[in-house]
Symmetry: C2
Subunit: 497 residues, 2 copies
């Protein structure tokens, strides 16, 4: 069972296209890896609906006294001065297995952080690190310079709006680990949600001042599964305990994997309407491919069309079709001057920085001396056990429970594009409360938005790729600020009236 | 008849949407202005097919001896050193009316320019200046700094590939003028083609060393009309004379107005697939609007949907939906540092520079002291007499005549978008010679391309707006180099085989 999925499954649907996307971004590969498995014969992936785990109990909560102080990060190597506190360390999620999750926590960049909510950020993959993407390339307070050893400030860090908690999950991702290697081949949505929940309970014991704080969960890509599943678990245990164990108020997911069938059709339609594949190939896919759940075999005509698609996207970054790609992964002796756009090679700079011993010491990370490098997306996890074909039932549940549900989409991502999200939401047949309109932030169009009865908000971010806060940091901060404060995204038409 | 079109035509279809696009770019307004008129009752615009003018004769050619030397530009104010020669001046196109066209000519930036072709560039509008867009913001050797008085080099100027001639046409555009004010209300496609042709004949008399040179015509937007119409006129007179009066080899048009019906449907589809308008509004437009030629009345439901579209695009630049818009038209005391991206306010810097007396003197422009400012798009021309609903018959003629026909499209333009061009070409039902594939330039994907039997090439430029060489200067130079040398755009799939 240690063979990778690529070898394990004989019939690799879409392998021609999903294997060939640009290799610069590890996140690109992780999601493709999973889809390849899901659409294969005998994949053994459980795609039934997600159920909350049953084995979380009081024994899951360990004593956390004094641990917070040890986790305080005094200064990261090469870090500019900041006025907020940072913490990093491990929270044990399973004592007997020796399973521990690494977190990085940045308090709000405000003179007083007491009124600002607690926001958890999760990256997807599955298998990608929230430290790699969320913290160091998207919404965190620092980004790594091209020298791989110094940091610069992200002026639009989300800790201007919240106390932000980045979690590397599940075990095997980033610095998170297990002493039982079997854990690495037993990963799946259900175990990840259970571990994330246990992590949270313990983390709140370690930081008890945040226990009553308004709590929100956010994330992108495959975190479209993680975020709702963790929210569902929290709601379930709150109900079981008949009290608010965790004060969850809402979820925010971006370019999120929501519903396999519509996600996939939306991706091909996006390729077509964005002139990446021809109408002929798109027609062939629409006629000869079957993306309904449980389909595991496709016709030759479908596979042939997919091979064509693969040829067309091999040299572009389908996570932001208009962005430059990293042509050479090399460090510079001095930091390159910062530009408005994120450097396409920043994943490499982050990789180098995170693997420095002084950085790991400052972060209180890698305390067990892992036998592998810290990686943006895990090379350790190769099997994924369960992944429901849709998370729409969970979204419906949240809307009933009055949880704030916001879904956003950077509109230049072709992998989990705006068309996919639109189709997935359309499949819910929700009545429209506020029709499609531009939304403005600081006088500029941030994107377009629609609000549905029940209260689900769908917002695009104009010109942003898959990692929205990387490409449109200012707009993304505007979006999350509106989300956290519950203020609707206003558009020009409303300003005019 | 001096009233502007906006007032002249009572029933202003799409006025709600076409009047409200972002005001920063004058080119935005020019094309909308025309369409508004074309789709109006009693517009009096002749939309019949273009016929070559009959009144060009030997008397149209005037003596040009000695005039070339007078036109030589010694140095433009604030200009960096260059090694190529520049010329600027007037060519009379109608002596009795006192109608004269201003041209700016940059010889090739090569130790020897003798082997490189002559390339004419035309901007559209109708009414926009090739000096304003083509020369100073797109493919010319210089761009204007944010101080409005100094210039910097465009490293990817098209004079690396050709001797480039920029023409301000028709009379009333830029520095071009007529002493008969009636000329300004008698503009149209046919008179423009005739005048452009007379200009060319005379210009070649003034620069006889280019008479035998391979000649190409290029342009964007409404030059999708000008370029084929001028080419058609050249071919017509070559045939009439039974000899090669002008050595025309091919045409290149970008984000070009080709075929009104498909252009318009393609624009709305682009808005829809790019998440700018909702599916509901797009459906309403597709059901209730009629874009076939000669339609002059639309249903209320169509107008209502258009009003919605207008609300959604009011604050974005639909000529490059992901580009920032110019928020304040101000000069800086010192030039802003250059960045890879074109400054969204560069139109304003160009306007200021072109209206300086020392610049006009250096250019040998405005010799008659016009009673209006030099404008990027004409405020003088408000009536347009004839504009065929399609130029496809001309494209078919060129293909029969073995003229090289290349059509390109910056794929982030929503005004004359890639969908429009695709639909327009599809309507020709040409057999495909080389199917849709990525094309590479210097190891990077420049865009996608398809070649049709007959030899028509359609190529996209990835991530470029309406003014392709502004946004993707390097790729655009690659494209024009391939066009001029007749080398097919090669893709990764071909490199691999």
């Amino acid at each position: 069972m240690k063979t990778t999925l690529c070898v394990l499954y004989i019939f690799l649907l879409f392998s021609s296209f999903l294997c060939q996307t640009h290799a610069g971004n590890k996140q690109t590969q992780a999601l493709n890896h999973l889809y390849r498995a899901k659409w294969s014969l005998n994949s053994a992936i459980d795609t039934s609906h997600f159920e909350p785990p049953q084995h979380v109990n009081n024994a899951s909560i360990l004593l956390q006294e004094g641990l917070k102080e040890n986790d305080k990060i005094h200064k990261l190597p090469g870090q500019p001065y900041v006025r907020f506190d940072q913490y990093g360390g491990y929270v044990t999620v399973n004592e007997s297995a020796g399973r521990a999750f690494y977190y990085y926590f940045v308090e709000a960049d405000q003179t007083s952080n007491e009124s600002l909510p607690l926001l958890l950020w999760l990256n997807g993959g599955p298998g990608c690190s929230s430290l790699a993407y969320g913290a160091m390339q998207e919404l965190g307070p620092f980004r790594v310079n091209s020298d791989g050893k110094t940091l610069y400030r992200n002026d639009f860090s989300w800790n201007h709006a919240a106390n932000v908690l980045f979690l590397e999950s599940p075990a095997g991702v980033g610095f998170s680990y297990s002493n039982s290697s079997s854990d690495y081949i037993n990963c799946g949505d259900e175990s990840t949600a259970a571990d994330n929940y246990v992590f949270l309970l313990n983390w709140l014991e370690r930081f008890p001042e945040y226990k009553e704080r308004e709590f929100y969960i956010s994330g992108e890509s495959y975190a479209g599964h993680y975020v709702p599943q963790l929210a569902h678990t929290i709601l379930y245990y709150n109900k079981m305990a008949n009290k608010t164990l965790i004060n969850l108020k809402g979820i925010l997911i971006g370019n999120a994997v929501i519903n396999d069938e519509t996600d996939t059709i939306g991706m091909y339609d996006y390729f077509g309407s964005h002139a990446i594949v021809s109408d002929e190939i798109l027609d062939q896919i629409r006629i000869y491919c079957d993306f309904s759940p449980n389909t595991t075999k496709q016709s030759d005509k479908c596979l042939e069309a997919n091979a064509e698609v693969g040829q067309n996207i091999v040299n572009i970054d389908i996570y932001n079709i208009y962005a430059p790609v990293c042509s050479k992964q090399i460090l510079t002796s001095k930091p390159k001057p910062m530009s408005r756009a994120i450097d396409p090679c920043s994943e490499h700079y982050t990789y180098v920085y995170m693997n420095r011993q002084d950085v790991q010491e400052a972060l209180h990370a890698n305390v067990t001396k892992l036998d592998h490098d810290w990686e943006p997306c895990s090379d350790v996890i190769n099997i994924w056990k369960d992944s429901p074909s849709t998370i729409i039932p969970l979204l419906r549940e949240f809307m009933k429970d009055n949880l704030r549900v916001w879904i956003y989409s950077g509109d230049t991502d072709a992998r989990v594009p705006v068309t996919s999200t639109k189709y997935s939401i359309n499949s819910m047949s929700l009545p429209i409360k506020t029709p499609w309109h531009p939304w403005l932030y600081q006088g500029k169009v941030g994107g377009f938005a629609q609000v549905y009865e029940g209260d689900l908000t769908f917002a695009t971010v104009l010109g942003a790729g898959h990692q929205v806060p990387s490409y449109k940091p200012k707009t993304a901060l505007g979006l999350v600020t509106h989300f956290l404060t519950g203020k609707p995204l206003n558009g020009s038409r409303y300003r005019l009236s």
